[in-house]
Every structure is written in C-alpha cells, then in structure tokens.
C-alpha cells in the first residue's frame, strides 16, 4: 500500500535554528561571534594566539574544532583565554549543535569576542552556519595564488579575507593581483588584509577590523 507524502522544509533548518539560538546567546551576553575558516595550516591557531594576546585574554573565549587531538586547544590555552576543543571525529566542519555544546561549558561573562576556529577545510564549513556574526577566511601565501578561484564559495561568504604569512613573500612566487582579481569576481564587499603574525606587519589593521566588528550593530 504505497503512500506519498509531499512536504517542503529545508533540511538544514535544524542547524540554522541552533545557529540562531547560539547567536542570540552571544548577543545577550554582549559577545560577537567570529567564525575563522581556512585550509589546514594557513595559520588560524597562530593568528588567534596572537590576537588573544593583543586584545587581552579576559575579553576572549575560543571554540576550536578538529577531527582529532587537543593540540590546538593546548596552544590557545597558553594565551590565557578559556578554550574548548571540539573533536568532530569524522566531521569535516563544525555544526551549530557542536558549538552550542561548547558554549554551554564556557564562561562568557564579561567577554567581547568568541572566536570559533573551524576545522581546516575549504569546502564544507562554508555551508554550515554556527551562530557567528562575522566570517573570517584566511589564506596563507605559501598555499598559492589560486585559492580564491579554486574555492569560491568559501571566499564568497567571507566578511574579511586575511592573506597570512606575508613575511614569506620573498621566497615565493605569489601573484597578489591575481588573488585580488579572483576575489573581485566572488566577493567585493570583504576587505583583504595582508598580515604576518611573525613580523607583526599588517596586524593592526586586523585588530581595527575586529574593533569595528564589536561596535557594529548586530
């Protein structure tokens, strides 16, 4: 006895609902949520270590996603802010539910920034809202100048693009104009900031961007 049921309800509605609840929780506590995405090895953890040191650990909290290990959390904890490591097991991106679980264990009182370091991956994280207010996409200079063209959907969702490890420019053949041309095709609203966590070059512009993000109406 076959039976047909017709419905129309977005599958990811549940993820989006949890993401919206995460966002409300952050707003109620006066935080801005920053989703940091990149390939593995672009320098997300190092960026956050230095960012926490500059902003002051008392203003920050961190959720960090990885398939395995607590190595990133251990590094970030040294910066002095509360950190929760989320091991996604097989998952190649964080989900809003995982972020909700992480938020439940963090004391957010009095803090301004929640940094969410996503799993290193340039495809999957773009499709899953976590409750962030801003999305940061990082690409490091040694990865090559074709990253924007190869992974346009990730860059399309960025509110800011960080070009990291620029202290290595002399050792690399990297055509920055090519990156800017590609970015103009997928996302012309996100500024691209060049920086090096090692030399500190360009870091102030990133801190200024964060300061603007916290003062912007949500």
């Amino acid at each position: 006895m076959p039976n047909v049921t017709v419905i129309a309800k977005p599958l990811l509605q549940k993820n989006d609902q949890i993401a919206a609840a995460n966002r409300r929780l952050l707003e109620a506590k006066g935080l801005v949520g920053i989703n940091v995405m990149s390939a593995p090895g672009s320098g997300k953890t190092t960026l956050l270590q230095k960012t926490i040191a500059c902003l002051g650990p008392a203003r920050c909290a961190v959720l960090v996603g990885d398939l395995q290990t607590t190595r990133d959390a251990d590094r970030l904890a040294q910066a002095g802010a509360p950190v929760v490591q989320i091991n996604t097991g097989r998952g190649c991106h964080l989900t809003a539910a995982e972020v909700a679980d992480g938020l439940a264990t963090l004391d957010l009182t009095g803090r301004s920034f929640l940094f969410i370091e996503n799993v290193g991956n340039m495809v999957c994280p773009a499709g899953f809202a976590l409750g962030e207010h801003k999305s940061v996409v990082l690409m490091s200079l040694p990865e090559g100048d074709d990253k924007v063209a190869k992974y346009p959907t990730l860059f399309q969702c960025a509110d800011v693009v960080l070009l990291s490890k620029i202290d290595l420019a002399a050792a690399m053949e990297f055509d920055e104009s090519r990156v800017r041309e590609d970015l103009a095709q997928v996302n012309s609203r996100a500024p691209m900031l060049r920086l090096s966590t090692r030399s500190g070059e360009g870091f102030q512009a990133w801190l200024d961007w964060l300061a603007a993000a916290i003062s912007a109406p949500k």
């Binding site: 006895m1 039976n3 129309a8 599958l11 190649c92 499709g127 346009p152 959907t153 095709q185 996302n187």
Partner: protein, 116 residues
C-alpha cells in the same frame, strides 16, 4: 565529505516524516539540493545508504535534483543567477551577493508503505 552529516540530517527528517505519516518502510526519498552546497550526488547517495541501515529507510532510493543558485545584490538589489565561480551582479558588477536560493537541501516527498 560533508555529505555524511547531510545524510544523517536527512535521515533524521525522513524518520520523523515516516513516523508522522504512518510509513513503516520508506522506498523513495526525493530531495532538492541547492547548487551552493556542492554536494557530490554519488557520495550523498552512498552516505544515505550507509546511515539508513537498520532504519525505516534501509534500502530506500534517494532521488536528487539540483536547484540553481539565485542571489540578490547587497549593493543595488538586483536579483540574478550567479555561478559558483562568478558572483558579480550583472547590473552594478559588485560581487556582494546574498544567496536567496540554491543554498538549501529540501525533501520534496517520500514514498513508502504503511504496512510491513
């Protein structure tokens, strides 16, 4: 690789729908997949088969159809269809797209048996 979490979310919704509509076994699940999600159809079908084992959707066929992307320009408000490689607005040439369609994965219907 994100097909696995999509398949798991899909299965949860299929199980809820089957229960709510008295379906004991599901034979066909029809889904509309937004182009922005970059789902590999074969991977999603395989993942759905794997997560469905031992459930009411075991052995169910997953019929997928792709929904093209639509966007609204944040700059000038024009509605247009961007490609995955080029999100520029045809009117003002800014790439400031707000995705308005082709971003979701939606079950359109299920077919199943109301008896074992």
């Amino acid at each position: 690789m994100h097909e696995l979490s999509i398949a798991a979310a899909l299965l949860a919704q299929v199980e809820d729908l089957a229960k709510a509509n008295g379906l004991k076994r599901v034979q066909v699940v029809r889904v509309q997949v937004g182009a922005r999600r970059q789902v590999v159809a074969e991977s999603l079908a395989m993942a759905f088969e794997a997560v469905g084992l031992g459930t009411c959707a075991e052995g169910a066929r997953l019929e997928q159809s792709e929904v093209a992307m639509q966007a609204r320009c944040r700059g000038c408000g024009t509605d247009y269809a961007p490609s995955l490689r080029d999100f520029r607005c045809p009117a003002c040439r800014q790439a400031a797209a707000e995705i308005t369609a082709g971003n979701d994965i939606t079950i359109s219907s299920l077919t199943g048996d109301t008896e074992d």
